[in-house]
C-alpha cells in the first residue's frame, strides 16, 4: 500500500529552529530508500500551530506534531516502512476534518464549525482543480445563470451576514448602497491588510484557500456592476501573495476572470495591490488612498466608499473573511446561513487564539459560542496550569475581558457589553503573570506609533496617554493620573477622525474598568503585582543558592552588594540602581528580581 504524507506548508509551520519539514522529510526518505512507499502532498495550515511542525499520514489519518529530524526518521521507520503508527509521537490534541480522521480526543475541533476555512488544509492551495472538486465556482455559475444582481443582493441581505473586518456592518446593506449610482465605473476591494498585531486569520485563509475569496469578489462584482477588483494585501505576507497570484492567473486562464465570464456578458478582473507597513491603511478610506499610490491617510466619512471610493467611483470594500463566506451562502442558501449563530450575529467567526494558552491556532466557531468554550474546551485552558486573568479581543481597538465575563457568547453586541469588541478575530489569553498596565502600555505604544498624525486628538492624545502610562509603570504615577487617563481617553475617542483614534483608548479604559486595583498598586504602593514592570522590581540574592564567589559585588557599579568570600551576599535595595549587571554575572543564578 502506498501511503501519503501531508505536510503543512503554512508560513508558520516551522520548528523552533526555523526549519521547514519538507526538505528534511525528502532527505530522510532518500536516505532510507523509502521514496516509493509514499507520496508527499502539501496542504496549508491546519490552524493547530501549537503542534507545529506537523504531518498527517494517510490513509490512517494519523496526525504527528512537534516534529524534528529524529522523530521524522522514527515515523518513517516504524509507520511508513513498518506499518505501525508511532503512538508516542501523536499530536496531543488531534483534530478532525472531513479528510483527516484522528485518533484519540478531538476536542480542538469538536466545537468548531468550518465555513470560512472550509477548504483550508483540505485542498492544495496551489491546485485550482482541487478547488473545483470542492464545488468551487458552482456558486458563481449559479449566480450568473439564474440570478439578477438585485436577487444576489437580496440573498446576501437575507443571510444576515455582517462584515468580519471588525465593525460588523451588515454586508447586504453595504452591497445595496454600492449600487444605483450613475457612475460609469465601480470597484470591488478585498481588505487583506490584517493589521491587528497578534492575529493571522486572514493570512491563513488566503494561504489555505485563495480561490474562494476571488469567487466571492467576482459575485460581489456582478451584484454591484463592477468590472475591476483589487486585493489589498500586506507586503509582509509573501506566501499569501504568491498563492493569490497563482489563483488569479489560473482563474484568468480558465475564463473565470476577464471577459465574458462563463460565456455571459459579465466582465470582471482582479489585481493585487501591496501595502507597505502602515496599520492605518486597514481603514477603508486610507486603504483606498494607498491603492491610489498616495500616503495612506483616512479622510472624513461621509461620503462612504460605497458612494465615492477609489478615484471617486462607488467602491465596495469587504474583509477577507467576509468574501470567503460569500460563495458558501450561495451554495447552501441564505436560510442555511441565517440558521447558524445568534439572532443578530449570523454564521461563524474565525479567531486566532494565542498567548498563554495550551493550544494556539485558528479556531472557527458558530457565533454565540462562549469565551469559556473557546478558551477551555478548544484551547485546552491556560498554559502551565496558571491562573486565567483576562482575554483580549479586538487587538489595539479592543479590550481585556476578565474572568467574570467568560460566559459571554461571542457576538458583536455581547462582546461590546463586556467592554471589548469582536474586532477582526485576534484573541490573546493572559494569565496571572501578565501586568494589565503593561498590556495597556503595549497597545498604546502601538497605536501611538501608527497614528497617521492627520488629526490632533489622536496624534497628541495618544502621546499624552502613553506618557501617563509609562510614568505609572516606572513608579512615578500619582493618584490623579487615573482620572486623567479616563478623561483624556474619552476625549480622544470622541474627537478623533478615524477608527484608529476613536478606539485607541479602549485598551486603557477597559483595563481601568476591570483591573483598577493593578493601576492602584503601581501608583500607591509602587508595586507591580504581576512582577513585570522592571522599574518596580528589586534585585535579591537567594541565600540558598549563593556560593559567595564575590563576582556580583565586584561588578556592581554602586557597590551596594556586601558579603564576605564564601558567605552569602546581600543587596542593599535602597542604593541599587537596578542595572542588572550582578544578575548577568552570577555563575549560579542566585540573583532574582521580584
Amino acid at each position: 500500500m502506498k501511503r501519503k504524507i501531508i505536510v503543512c506548508s503554512g508560513s508558520a509551520c516551522i520548528d523552533p529552529g526555523g526549519k521547514r519539514l519538507e526538505p528534511e522529510l525528502r532527505r530522510i526518505l532518500g536516505d532510507k530508500n523509502a521514496f516509493d512507499l509514499v507520496e508527499i502532498e502539501e496542504a496549508v495550515c491546519y490552524g493547530h500551530c501549537g503542534s507545529c511542525p506537523m504531518i498527517v499520514v494517510e490513509p490512517e489519518g494519523t496526525f504527528y506534531g512537534e516534529l524534528n529530524s529524529e522523530k521524522l526518521a522514527r515515523i518513517i521507520d516504524e509507520h511508513i516502512i513498518g506499518g505501525q503508527p508511532v503512538e508516542a509521537l501523536l499530536a496531543t490534541q488531534p483534530m478532525d476534518t472531513s479528510r483527516i480522521r484522528m485518533l484519540g480526543s478531538a476536542d480542538f475541533f469538536g466545537k468548531q464549525l468550518r465555513i470560512t476555512l472550509r477548504n483550508c488544509g483540505i485542498i492544495d492551495p496551489e491546485s485550482f482543480d482541487d478547488y473545483l472538486q470542492m464545488r468551487g465556482y458552482e456558486a458563481l455559475a449559479k449566480v450568473l445563470e439564474q440570478m439578477t444582481p438585485e436577487q444576489v443582493i437580496s440573498e446576501v441581505e437575507k443571510s444576515g451576514m455582517r462584515g468580519r473586518g471588525g465593525g460588523g456592518y451588515p454586508t447586504g446593506l453595504k452591497w445595496r448602497q454600492s449600487t444605483g449610482h450613475d457612475e460609469e465605473k465601480s470597484f470591488v476591494i478585498c481588505n487583506a491588510d490584517e493589521g491587528d498585531p497578534g492575529a493571522f486569520m486572514d493570512r491563513s485563509a488566503i494561504e489555505g484557500d485563495p480561490f474562494c475569496i476571488l469567487e466571492g469578489m467576482t459575485i460581489g462584482g456582478y451584484a454591484i456592476g463592477a468590472t475591476q477588483g483589487y486585493v489589498y494585501v500586506r507586503a509582509e505576507y509573501p506566501l499569501a501573495i504568491k498563492r493569490l497570484r497563482y489563483a488569479i492567473d489560473e482563474a484568468r486562464k480558465r475564463g473565470l476572470l476577464g471577459k465574458s465570464i462563463f460565456g455571459t456578458n459579465f466582465n470582471f478582473d482582479i489585481d493585487i495591490r501591496l501595502g507597505a507597513g502602515a496599520f492605518v491603511c486597514g481603514e477603508e478610506t486610507a486603504l483606498i488612498a494607498s491603492i491610489e499610490g498616495r500616503r495612506g491617510m483616512p479622510r472624513p466619512r461621509p461620503p462612504y466608499p460605497a458612494q465615492s471610493g477609489l478615484w471617486g467611483y462607488p467602491t465596495l470594500i469587504n474583509n477577507v473573511e467576509t468574501w470567503a463566506n460569500v460563495p458558501a451562502i450561495f451554495l447552501n442558501g441564505a436560510d442555511w446561513f441565517a440558521g447558524i449563530g445568534t439572532e443578530k450575529s449570523k454564521g461563524t467567526k474565525v479567531f486566532a487564539l494565542a498567548g498563554k494558552i495550551k493550544n494556539t491556532g485558528l479556531v472557527e466557531v458558530p457565533m454565540g459560542t462562549t469565551l469559556r468554550e473557546i478558551i477551555y474546551d478548544i484551547g485546552g485552558g491556560i498554559k502551565n496550569d496558571k491562573k486565567f486573568k483576562a482575554v483580549q479581543t479586538g487587538g489595539p481597538s479592543g479590550g481585556c475581558i476578565p474572568e467574570q465575563f467568560l460566559d459571554t457568547p461571542v457576538d458583536y453586541e455581547s462582546l461590546m457589553k463586556a467592554g471589548s469588541i469582536m474586532g477582526s478575530g485576534g484573541m490573546i489569553v493572559m494569565d496571572e503573570d501578565t501586568c494589565m498596565v503593561d498590556v495597556a502600555k503595549f497597545f498604546l505604544t502601538f497605536t501611538q506609533d501608527e497614528s497617521c498624525g492627520k488629526c490632533t486628538p489622536c496624534r497628541e492624545g495618544t502621546k499624552r496617554l502613553l506618557e501617563i502610562l509609562t510614568r505609572i509603570t516606572e513608579g512615578k504615577g500619582v493618584p490623579e493620573d487615573l482620572q486623567k487617563l479616563e478623561h483624556l481617553g474619552k476625549t480622544v475617542k470622541r474627537a478623533s477622525l478615524c477608527g484608529l483614534g476613536q478606539s485607541a483608548p479602549n485598551p486603557i479604559l477597559s483595563t481601568l474598568q476591570n483591573f483598577r486595583e493593578e493601576y492602584e498598586a503601581h501608583i500607591n504602593e509602587k508595586r507591580c503585582p504581576a512582577g513585570v514592570c522592571s522599574a518596580l522590581l528589586n534585585y535579591y540574592v537567594d541565600p540558598d543558592k549563593c556560593v559567595g564567589c564575590t563576582l556580583c559585588a565586584k561588578v556592581c557599579p554602586v557597590k551596594c552588594i556586601s558579603g564576605e568570600p564564601k558567605k552569602t551576599h546581600v543587596i542593599d535595595t535602597s542604593i541599587c540602581i537596578k542595572c542588572g549587571e550582578c544578575k548577568k554575572k552570577c555563575p549560579v543564578k542566585a540573583i532574582y528580581r521580584k
Partner: protein
C-alpha cells in the same frame, strides 16, 4: 529627461515601470514600483527616487511623502542581514521584549539602526502569524521560534560565521 548615466544604471527599473504603469492613474503603481526598487537596490536612495519621478512624472516631493509614510520603505543603506523581533501581542505576552533587549545589548544598536560593520540591521516587526511559537525572531527569511534570551548569542554567532565564510 534623465541623464544617460542614470539611464543605464536604472535600466531595469525603467523597464519594470513601463510594465506596470497605468497612464489613466499615473500614481497608482507607485507603491509597487517602490517595492521593486527597494528589492533591487537595497534601499531607496535619492537617485532612485529622482529616477522614478522622471519616468512616472510624479513629483519627487510627492514620492518622498509616500516613502516616508510607509515603514517598510528605507531611505538609508541597510545591513547585510535584517534581524527582526516580533512585537506582536502574542510574542510580547511571551517575552519578546526580552529578546529585543538581549539583541540590543549584543549588537549595541537600537531598532532601526545598523551595526558599524554593516552586517546587521535591527528592527521590530509585528505578528508574522507564527504566534504558536512565540516569541519569534527572524534573520532575513529564517524564523526562530520559542527563542530564549540566552539563545540570541548563538544565533548571531551563526550568522557572523556565515558572513565571514563568504
Amino acid at each position: 529627461m534623465a541623464c544617460s548615466c542614470c539611464e543605464n544604471q536604472f535600466d531595469d527599473l525603467t523597464q519594470y515601470i513601463s510594465g506596470v504603469f497605468d497612464p489613466e492613474h499615473p500614481q497608482s503603481s507607485l507603491i509597487s514600483i517602490l517595492h521593486h526598487a527597494q528589492e533591487r537596490y537595497g534601499y531607496l536612495s535619492k537617485d532612485v527616487i529622482e529616477h522614478i519621478a522622471q519616468v512616472t512624472e510624479v513629483p519627487a516631493a510627492e514620492i518622498y511623502g509616500v516613502v516616508t509614510f510607509y515603514s517598510l520603505f528605507k531611505t538609508k543603506p541597510q545591513g547585510k542581514h535584517r534581524i527582526s523581533v516580533c512585537m506582536g501581542t502574542a510574542c510580547y505576552i511571551r517575552g519578546g521584549a526580552k529578546i529585543l533587549e538581549a539583541l540590543e545589548d549584543m549588537l549595541d544598536i537600537k531598532p532601526g539602526e545598523t551595526t558599524e560593520d554593516m552586517l546587521f540591521t535591527l528592527s521590530e516587526t509585528r505578528c508574522i502569524g507564527a504566534c504558536g511559537l512565540a516569541p519569534i525572531m527572524t534573520v532575513d527569511d529564517k524564523v526562530y521560534g520559542r527563542v530564549e534570551p540566552e539563545q540570541v548569542k548563538g544565533i548571531i554567532a551563526e550568522w557572523r560565521e556565515k558572513a565571514e565564510k563568504v
